[in-house]
Amino acid sequence: MEIKHRGLGYRLKKGWPAYLFIMPATLLIGLVKVKPMLEGIILSFYKAGLKSKFFVGLENFKNLTGTFLTQELINTLIFAAILVPSMLIISLILAGMISKFGKTKATIFRGAFYLPKVTAGVVMTMVWLWMFNPIWGIFNYILSFMGIKPVMWLADPVMSKLSVCMVVIVSNVASSIIIFSAAIAGVSKRYLEAASLEGANSLQIFRYVTVPLISPTVLFLLLTTTSGSFQIFSAVILLTEGGPMHSTLTVGLNIYHQGFLYYRFGIAAAHGVVLLAIIFIICFFQFRIMRRRFEY
């Protein structure tokens, strides 16, 4: 049977209550998200300082090749490459484990994992800085019992990246756990029982039944985690300020430096536009690839 595609007028007439309900949120998102984004794109074509602003076309983008497409982009890609799979795998495993607990236990564990999320970021960072300190930090204190020499957690280019990733994962994994838990809870018990009757063990049921059935959630978290990882900023500025030797300088932090330290607002905006494009392209392909793998 041929499906008739109706016009916009018909759809508005038919679905006006829905449009009415989403209008406030749409307007708000437009005002606080889309408008600044568009203004940022426009600003990237200007040489803009504190006082002056004039059109320079693509000049800001030409200048990026010397600074932008080198260390901070590589650092950002490394962070994303570590953070996205780690956060998804860790949160999926933890959510799977929590789903096996009873209601009370599951609530306690979810609450425990969520605690870092509700703690103020600055406070959390202070605690992490204390733990990473090479002289009185608890990590080196524990390692000393094993006869391991003090590790320069934040004073070594490789270790500082891993340390920042550790902080980001612990601070942010909770949201993914909650979302995965909700998705796992929504999987019909019938499929799990059927797989069990067929002789599958818990691990096989989780891998071959649960995970495929929650693939839309995996896609959602893949997209949001990817986007968030590319925009990594607060953990870096609070822990390392991009150091040592720019080894944790990310695109997000460099945007801040260009804008608020050097007052090169146009160049900062150009960095932002390139970052936006990169995130968009990666998410687009993730979406296309993952959508084909939906099991239902």
């Binding site: 504190l50 990473f132 300190n133 090479p134 003090p150 004073a155 040592p244 007052y263």
Partner: protein, 431 residues
């Protein structure tokens, strides 16, 4: 005489302009941003008395956290909506002054008021002869020694007992060796190369070798990579290699100094003077931030033989007035800023526990303090050394220095390479 006439004229015009509005019954609103004291106290002690005296001026007080002040004002400037009057830390103001956002405060001050500032103050806060703020008070950056711990180690007698006594880097190294022999976990110095906050503490060590950002006074000529600067940095590296200072410099922040001091893990340090003040030490001990009631003494900074004793770096609080095309608002802003400067500076200084930059302000918390008296004498003799605060690129330069210092302490660059690269990057800011 001419100056007096011009200042009189400026102030007279301001009062006239503001008075016009008073006669018309109109209210002039001033946006006052401050980052120093809680709003309720400022309202009660500053705003209310001022508004009572000038009922046609309304002060809109906004508290901006010290950490957010720079970004908030920068955003406001870019949006064309800066405050009218700002009371805050001055390290970020030079750029705004350079761009012409701040008025020249010199023409609102009489010669007597200018002379009332401590020696070197007006130059430190001037760009091309224009004073970009009313300097208020400061935290001095001084060299201090943990007397309690040094006595326990048995080397206090080797340390200069007072600010009047001089000593050299060689003397300092000799004591450092003895401290290490006593306990390798106690250090004689602490260097930090991460984060811009408190970066003058690190610069202070350079000063002992006769190196500073702008030795020639030319802001475009960065001289930290001079022979003296290279020698200073190599000395710091040697301190770390010998175990006199802890490893991990590339990750340490200035806030770590306080932890080291409180824990008794470092016997000498360059930093804010406040821990030397007995009431601060007592408070640290009472709140259990410090496990022992250490007695810290302010001592003269060790320096290379043949190098003059340096002046003092300061971390200052100031008041600034932003330019506005609204002449009435500008007049009222200057009136308010001057009023704060003349009438409430003592209060602000006492509240902050800092040292006044004006001779006439004598806060009660400092009058009987021996260190304050000695500091005043020292400042009168050696003055203030400018760490580059009045460079329009001061904030950016701070950001460029640390990666290079990190590279040196991580062994990726020599002291010369690191400081040359820093100087080049800093000079490139002018291109």
């Amino acid at each position: 005489m001419f100056r007096k006439f011009v200042v009189g004229l400026v102030v007279g015009l301001m009062v006239l302009l503001v008075g016009q509005f008073a006669l018309a019954g109109e209210i002039i609103e001033i946006d006052f941003w401050e980052s120093q004291q809680p709003i309720d106290r400022v309202m009660k002690n500053v705003i209310e008395p001022f508004e009572a005296e000038y009922p046609n001026i309304k002060i809109n007080l906004v508290f901006v956290g010290p950490g957010q002040m720079h970004d908030t004002v920068s955003t406001a400037l870019a949006a064309g909506m800066p405050p009218n009057v700002l009371l805050g830390y001055s390290g970020r103001l030079a750029k705004w002054a350079w761009e012409g956002f701040l008025i020249d405060h010199k023409w609102t001050l009489t010669q007597t008021e200018i002379d009332n500032f401590l020696p070197g103050v007006v130059d430190t806060f001037s760009i091309e002869g224009k004073l970009f703020c009313y300097p208020c008070y400061f935290v001095p950056v001084v060299f201090t020694a943990n007397k309690t711990l040094l006595e326990r180690i048995g080397v206090w007698d080797l340390v200069p007992q007072s600010i009047e006594e001089d000593w050299t880097i060689s003397d300092f190294m000799m004591i450092a060796e003895k401290v290490k022999e006593y306990n390798p976990d106690i250090y004689s110095a602490f260097f930090h190369a991460n984060g811009r906050g408190g970066d003058v503490y690190m610069l202070d060590y350079f000063k002992g070798f006769g190196a500073n950002h702008y030795a020639s006074g030319d802001l475009t000529d960065v001289t930290l990579n001079s022979e003296a600067g290279i020698e200073a940095l190599e000395w710091m590296g040697e301190m770390v290699d010998r175990g006199y200072a802890p490893k991990g410099v590339a990750a340490f922040k200035s806030s770590d100094i306080a932890k080291m001091r409180n824990a008794g893990l470092v016997v000498f340090s360059s930093g804010a003077m406040s821990p030397v003040l007995p009431h601060v030490a007592r408070e640290m001990y009472d709140t259990k931030a410090s496990p022992e009631l250490w007695e810290w003494k302010w001592i003269r900074q060790p320096h290379l033989a043949g190098i003059d004793s340096p002046g003092i770096f300061i971390s200052p609080g100031v008041i600034s007035v932003f330019q506005t095309e609204d002449s009435q608002k500008l007049a009222a802003s200057i009136l308010f800023a001057k009023w704060v400067n003349n009438n409430t500076m003592k209060w602000f200084t006492e509240q902050s526990g800092n040292i006044p930059l004006q001779k006439s302000v004598e806060p009660k918390h400092l009058i009987k303090n021996e260190d304050y008296a000695r500091l005043s004498d020292y400042l009168a003799e050696y003055g203030i050394t400018d760490a580059g605060i009045h460079s329009p690129h001061y904030t950016q330069i701070r950001n460029l220095r640390f990666p290079e210092l990190q590279a040196y302490f991580m062994g990726k660059k020599t002291a010369k390479e690191a400081l040359d690269d820093f100087a080049k990057a800093a000079e490139d800011l002018w291109k």
